[in-house]
Amino acid sequence: MSKRKILIVDDEPNIVMSLEYAFKKKAFEVFVARDGTEALDIAEKQLPNVILLDIMMPQMDGYETLKRIRENNDLKDTKVIFLSAKNKVTDMEKGLQLGADSYMTKPFSIKKVIADVEQLIT
């Protein structure tokens, strides 16, 4: 079984750093993108199993990025988890409607994120 791939999309380097360390530890192949455009690039090339997607990012936000991901046939089955400080029900619903598989509000617990990811890809 090939290595599971995860793409972390967030403009906050410190948050990314922790997530990267934690997932590497769980034997994921980790890719990092700082914004939506970069994320799409990497996703198309690497076809990750999971994408952790921040919503509030400069230029292309998380919603837009997800839309584009879902438009790509290759990425149809990629699981997408929103990680966002937005914690209103409407925000979550919007995210889920756009086709996110899960929604975690910041500040999150890394253990919980890992558990969520594990659950989605098994």
Binding site: D11, N14, M56, P107
Partner: protein, 893 residues
């Protein structure tokens, strides 16, 4: 010409006038009827037979002194703009229908005063009407050329029938409405037409005499100068004559205001105030035209006609002498026009005064309260009709009895002297608050007594006993009581003498009594209203002059009796709607009382109206303090009324603004949501980072290098959190003006230098030059720490967007009149147009920053703005600067 032919002409002419009056009544709105020229021409009712014939008579005997009667009005007219406007405004507001009403209302609706004014007018005007009849009768005889024919009795005298015809005319057109303050277009139109006719025909005969009978004015002058005593006719007669002139001018000055017919045409029939503007120059012009040929006709008559003829009628006799019957008839018709218009307007005005100021308040008021509206209206109209007939018939008998002894001119002057007794109470009443009803009454009585003694008693005495000694030796043989030379003053004409003494005593009585006694509250309040009319124009129904208790139902019942149910309901409906009063309101307030009083004043006169309303209400005295406080309120209401109009216009704009503001608010509300979201996001980000790091740190396998990195991250995120919280609190403090500024006088150059020093290291690291000319020394008042904060912020922004190695940041300091202006300019990428609007918003972070993640909290410029604003300065981005960004702020000196 035969008797019957002339009577036919008269009848045809009267029918023609009936037609004109009818037309005007039917076409009330027509511009033929409603224009300033009709108003001016109706004022020319001033020119009666006295003018038409009498002026020539005077000119032929005593030269140009006939002019005095026209100089008074000419002097008075420029004053009309102020005086007449005031009188017209008061009269319209109070529905005043005669001079008696005007004076009695001024002195607190005084019933007796109204009656006294009416009596004065009757005394003055009946002889005046008689004079007109005399002129008709005499000219009639001249034209019909029946020297031998002398009327043997009343029913044999054509003048009697002519008088009756005129009475029918007035009764028909003058009493169409029971409300006397309503305008009578028919009568006014006919009077205006007659004014044209009399002027044109008089000019025609003047031209005929001057240019046809003679060879122009200089020819007449040459021939006249050869006649005996010509000098005295063309020159002034020294000091005595000067006084006579002065008094006659004063007399006619008063007459143009006070004669009932003048008051009627000028005030009651005034359609628009601005007609006055035409009147003040057109009416004098009319008078001038009328007098142009007088002196030439007089001279011509003196030259051509035998001394035995009545020189009043030169204008008629001159063409007749030439056998020009057509022209003579025209002159006759012109004179007849002058007569009719005078009689018509005078009897109309007098009949209203008699009914409203004497008969109704003294005899009929009880009956009327019991009667129904139709009967009341009928009764009032009949009363006036009867008054018209009685007036004309009395004038006729006066003419039969007395006029043979007096010339046209002297009857006219006596009339004027009598009427001028109203002058003190009338003119002082307009400008002097102290005048009281008692004083007015006593003044008029004194004045009238003097006139009767000096002018009328000799005539009566002569009529009784032609050999009496009253005139030559004085009463009881006392020389100083000689009527025409009262107190030994022997160089005045009898009329000037009477005028001087009667008016002096009248005025003296009026002033002394006014000063020594105080009028009741009603008089004082009306005085205030007449004197300070402008203040009360917007007073709701003149409401302040009444206080007391009354029931709407009672008032309504009262009004219905006189106006009928329909008109009453309509009037009250309008009243309620105007003032927003509920129909169910039971108690009447001052406004309703005054409103009703005015409604009734038009029909019954002010004294009766007051009497009637006091019968259904319990009036309480109102104090001056209350008046003043109401006045204050009114002034405010007036001001607010004016404001209201402006406001309603403003309201439309405001509604627009409100909608805009609403949108603004909604967007602000949205912004607030966004702000909170952003705050949450900004706070949660470092917390998330800290939490995540602390979670992964729980791993013993982690290499120490990485561990240190995580720990460092935690530290930096904590700082970031702290700064963020500090900024949020700082901004909110500044927004709520809770931040205390430590203002002191500082040298702004030094402060700028300090701020530059703070960023110098970073600038150097990035290779950006910061330029500033630190040589100026400018003292300004500000909080130095705060301004350093602003400068540092602007500098850091400039640095952030000026990454190029040749980056230059330039700081300019400019001293202006009231403030200093500091500009921070960089040669970076500039601020995109679309963002310029938002850069001072909270959490604004440029989407175009170079760094992947925007640095800073997004609070910087928002805080700067707050700081500068709390210094009463301004901060903005220079939109016109293209080579980079240029941010400018000012600090007041």
């Amino acid at each position: 010409m035969s008797n019957y032919a002339l009577i036919s002409i008269i009848v045809v002419y009267l029918i023609f006038l009936f037609g004109v009056a009818f037309f005007a009544e039917k076409n009330q709105k027509s511009k033929w009827v409603n224009n300033p020229y009709v108003y001016v021409l109706s004022l020319a009712v001033y020119c009666t037979a006295w003018t038409y014939y009498g002026s020539v008579g005077i000119a032929s005997q005593s030269g140009i002194s006939f002019l005095t009667i026209y100089l008074g009005p000419v002097i008075a007219l420029p004053l009309w703009i102020v005086l007449m406007r005031k009188i017209i405004r008061i009269s319209k507001q109070q529905k005043i229908s005669s001079i008696a009403d005007f004076i009695s209302l001024r002195y607190g609706n005084n019933r007796l005063l109204g009656a006294l004014v009416t009596i004065t007018c009757l005394l003055g005007v009946i002889p005046y009407i008689a004079l007109q009849l005399k002129a008709v009768s005499e000219t009639f005889e001249i034209i019909t050329d029946k020297d031998g024919y002398i009327s043997t009795g009343v029913f044999d005298d054509s003048t009697f029938y002519i008088s009756l015809l005129i009475a029918v005319f007035v009764a028909f057109f003058g009493t169409r409405s029971s409300d006397a303050s309503e305008r009578k277009k028919g009568i006014v139109a006919s009077v205006a037409l007659e004014s044209v006719i009399k002027l044109v025909f008089f000019l025609v005969v003047g031209i005929y005499v001057t240019f046809y009978l003679f060879d122009g004015t200089s020819d007449i002058y040459r021939q006249a100068s050869q006649t005996t005593n010509f000098k005295s006719l063309s020159a002034f007669g020294g000091v005595e004559d000067g006084f006579n002139w002065l008094f006659t001018i004063a007399l006619s000055f008063f007459a143009i205001f006070l004669l009932p017919r003048q008051f009627h045409v000028a005030v009651v029939e005034n359609e628009r105030e601005n007609h006055l503007k035409k009147a003040i120059w057109l009416f004098p012009l009319y008078l001038l035209l009328f007098n142009v040929f007088v002196i030439f006709i007089a001279w011509a008559g003196n030259i051509r006609l035998p001394a035995s003829v009545n020189n009043d009628y030169y204008s008629l006799l001159l063409p007749l002498q030439e056998g020009n019957l057509l022209l003579s008839s025209m002159v006759f018709i012109g004179g007849f026009s002058a007569v009719i218009s005078m009689i018509v307007v005078s009897t109309l005005a007098l009949s209203t005064m008699v009914s409203n100021n004497v008969v109704i308040p003294y005899g009929f008021i009880k009956k009327m309260v019991e009667g129904n509206p139709e009967a009341n209206a009928k009764r009032i109209k009949n009363m006036r009709r009867i008054a018209i007939f009685i007036l004309i018939i009395s004038a006729y008998f006066f003419y039969i009895e007395f006029s043979t002894q007096l010339s046209l001119y002297s009857i006219g002057l006596i009339s004027f002297v009598v009427i001028s007794q109203l002058a003190p109470s009338f003119f002082f009443g307009l400008f002097w608050r102290r005048g009281t009803a008692k004083a007015a009454k006593i003044g008029i009585c004194i004045g009238l007594s003097v006139v009767i003694y000096t002018l009328i008693s000799p005539v009566i005495a002569n009529a009784i006993n032609p050999y009496n000694t009253l005139v030559s030796e004085g009463l009881f043989g006392m020389g100083w009581l000689r009527p025409a030379q009262l107190f030994g003053l022997d160089y005045l004409t009898p009329e000037s003498n009477a005028f001087l003494w009667s008016l002096s005593f009248n005025l003296l009585g009026f002033v002394i009594i006014s000063i020594s006694s105080k009028g009741n509250y009603r008089e004082r309040n009306y005085a205030e209203m007449f004197v300070n009319h402008e203040n009360y124009e917007n007073l709701q129904e003149g409401a302040f002059i009444w206080k007391g208790e009354a029931y709407v139902a009672d008032i309504k019942e009262l009004l219905s009796r006189f106006l009928g149910d329909k008109r009453t309901n309509r009037a009250l409906d309008i009243f309620n709607r105007k003032y927003g009063i509920s129909e169910k309101e039971e108690k009447a307030d001052a406004r309703l009382i005054n409103f009703s009083e005015k409604l009734l004043t038009g029909t019954l006169g002010s004294a009766s109206a007051k009497l009637l309303l006091s019968s259904v209400s319990k009036e309480k005295p109102i104090s001056l303090v209350e008046v003043l406080s109401i006045l204050e309120d009114t002034k405010e209401t007036k001001a607010s009324n004016r404001l209201l109009l402006e406001k309603s216009e403003e309201l439309a704009t405001m509604a627009e603004q409100l909608r805009f503001a609403n949108e603004e608010l909604r967007s602000q509300d949205k912004q607030k949501d966004e702000f909170l979201d952003t705050v949450a996001h900004e706070l949660k980000t470092p917390i998330t980072s800290i939490k995540a790091a602390s979670e992964v740190l729980d791993d013993d396998d982690m290499p120490s290098e990485l561990r240190n990195q995580f720990l460092e991250n935690i530290g930096r995120d904590t700082d970031r959190l702290a700064t963020l919280i500090h900024n949020i609190l700082d901004l909110e403090k500044l927004s709520g003006n809770r931040a205390e500024l430590m203002i002191s006088e500082q040298n702004i150059t030094k402060t700028i230098a300090k701020a530059i020093a703070g960023v110098a290291q970073i600038a150097q690291k990035r290779g950006v030059t910061v330029e500033f000319d630190a040589s100026k020394k400018v003292k300004v008042l500000y909080d130095e720490d705060r301004i350093i904060q602003v400068l540092t912020n602007l500098l850091s922004n400039a640095l952030k967007f000026t990454e190029r190695k040749d980056g230059i940041i330039h700081i300019e300091l400019e001293e202006q009149d009231k403030h200093v202006e500091i500009a921070v300019t960089d040669n970076g990428k500039g601020i995109p147009k679309t963002e310029q609007k938002y850069i001072f918003d909270k959490f604004y972070q440029s989407k175009y920053q170079n760094t992947k993640k925007p640095q800073g909290s997004g609070f910087g410029l928002a805080i700067c703005k707050k700081i500068i604003e709390s210094h009463s300065g301004a901060i903005w981005a220079d939109k016109n600067y293209k080579e980079g960004a240029r941010l400018v702020f000012t600090l007041p000196k």
